[in-house]
């Protein structure tokens, strides 16, 4: 009778351990493990005591057929006390686990809230960054004037301006040289005038000589030539005046020659522009064109890369937000753990109610056994449902909250 009861008790505890192992398997860490370990130790102790009692009883049966009622009642009491102790222990452990579950719930909720805020902030920062980038890109592409001229246009304009400048220089040189040759011709013309003046000079001196001869002839004619002498004198003074006028003209033309010389100097300055600085400018502009093209190419590549980054950041944030569902899943898992703990508590309470001196002990034990089966079946069912339900957080799309 006693051995049968022990066996039933053992079966009950083995089922409890299975239940416990199930809790452990559900992944609720060290606390479950400790609890399982404790219960297992107590159970081992219990088995040890019961076996001792059994041996003791057997010896008594063999050697002393009439065992005393007193030792039997002590043994029952011990079993009862032990079962009560186990129940208390299970209660204590379950309460600790319950507290830890609640604490974990709070921690997970707080952390999730923090992460969610952080993701939202991250996304707004990313948007802000993108806007700033766009501004930088726009600024980079123009040189900051009202027409929003691009750097490339500016360099091309400079190049064109330089070409026009060179053309102006060359045209000026050409025109100046042409003017120069006209001036040379003018100078030659003035030389011709000098020759003409020399002839005029010659005429004047011949006239002067002629007037002198006339005056001599008039003097020789005496009174009759007096009137002619006056005419001869006038002619002579005319020839002197003519020579003076000639000299004045020569002086004026000489001045003109000097002015033409000055003109030549000016034209020379106008026509001769040193091209070395222009050459350097041209080279600078050419280099600039190449550089601007290179910078534009690099900038375009960077801009393209930047444009690709923003969706990537958004995707990453979405993945993060989706991963925050772990709060719900963890909550569910923890809640289901509470159900398992309740089962443990109720079974342990029933064990503590066992009274070996009770006549209905068989019924009580059968009741416990049934209860154990019932709990095991239900737990299996719940477990199966759970494995069907979502086990990964990657599935499903989640909007930002």
């Amino acid at each position: 009778m006693k051995i049968k009861a022990m066996t039933l008790l053992l079966i009950g505890f083995v089922i409890s351990i299975c239940q416990l192992a199930h809790v452990l398997y559900s992944g609720f860490g060290v606390i479950s493990f400790l609890m399982a370990l404790t219960v297992s130790l107590v159970l081992l102790y219990f088995i040890f005591v019961s076996r001792k009692t059994a041996i003791f009883t057997r010896i008594k049966d063999e050697n002393v057929p009439k065992y005393t009622e007193r030792s039997q009642s002590d043994s029952d009491k011990l079993i009862h006390t032990t079962l009560e102790q186990i129940s208390e222990l299970v209660d204590q452990q379950v309460s600790v686990i319950d507290n830890e579950i609640n604490r974990t719930n709070t921690l997970v909720r707080d952390a999730t809230e923090g992460l969610s805020q952080s993701f939202k902030h991250l996304q707004s920062l990313s948007c802000e960054q993108q806007q700033m980038m766009n501004r930088v890109i726009n600024n980079h592409r123009n040189i900051g004037d009202e027409k929003e001229t691009s750097l490339e246009d500016f360099v091309n304009d400079s190049s064109r301006t330089l070409e026009e400048f060179v053309n102006v220089i060359i045209t000026t040189s050409k025109q100046s040289l042409q003017a120069m040759s006209f001036t040379e011709e003018m100078s030659k013309q003035l030389d011709g005038i000098f020759n003409l003046l020399a002839e005029v000079e010659n005429l004047a001196s011949q006239t002067n000589l002629l007037a002198l001869n006339a005056a001599i002839e008039a003097a020789r004619a005496g009174d009759a030539g007096r009137g002619f002498a006056v005419v001869a004198s006038e002619v002579r003074s005319l020839s002197v005046n003519s020579t003076e006028l000639n000299n004045d003209i020569r002086k004026e033309i000489f001045k003109t020659q000097t002015i033409i010389g000055n003109l030549r100097d000016s034209v020379e300055v106008m026509a001769s522009a040193d091209m070395t600085s222009t050459l350097e400018s041209k080279e600078n502009v050419s280099n600039m064109v190449v550089n601007v093209a290179r910078i534009n190419k690099e900038s375009s590549e960077i801009i393209d890369n930047l444009a690709g980054l923003t969706p990537q950041i958004n995707d990453t944030v979405s993945i993060g937000v989706r991963s925050l569902q772990f709060e719900d899943l963890t909550n569910q898992t923890l809640t289901s753990l509470k159900y398992n703990l309740d089962n443990l508590t109720s079974i342990s309470h029933k064990l503590s109610m066992i009274n070996l001196s009770d006549k209905n002990i068989t019924n009580t034990l059968q009741d416990i056994l049934l209860n154990c089966h019932d709990v095991t079946d239900k737990t299996n069912k719940i477990n199966n449902q759970r494995s069907v339900s979502q086990s990964s957080m990657d599935e499903g799309d989640i909007d930002l909250f």
């Binding site: 000026t172 522009a273 091209m275 222009t278």
Partner: protein, 102 residues
């Protein structure tokens, strides 16, 4: 004299060779070198292989030579310009106006 002129009647060709500096000081001599050539279809060759420097007045002189050649339905060819001189010709975009032999 920094200008050497070689007129070849058979080839209908006038070669003007400029040595060292090609600037305003040569304008009279340069003009004198070609102004009396009145033969139609003359090829004016400007040998710049010994020219080390050229300013804008040289470019003006070349354009005047070109005008003179065009009146005679002739051509102007620039022969073997040095690197420096060639750069100046490029800036002036003379390769669009004249034949340049390297």
């Amino acid at each position: 004299m920094a200008i050497k002129v070689n007129l070849s009647k058979e080839n209908n060709q006038l070669i003007i060779r400029i040595e060292e500096r090609f600037d305003f000081s040569l304008h009279q001599a340069f003009r004198d070198a070609y102004i009396n050539v009145k033969t139609n279809n003359t090829e004016f060759v400007l040998d710049l292989s010994s020219t080390s420097y050229m300013d804008s007045s040289a470019l003006g002189m070349i354009l005047l030579l070109k005008d003179h050649a065009e009146v005679l339905s002739g051509t102007v060819t620039i022969r073997k310009p040095s690197d420096t001189v060639n750069k100046i010709l490029e800036i002036a975009q003379f390769h669009r106006l004249l034949k340049i032999e390297y």
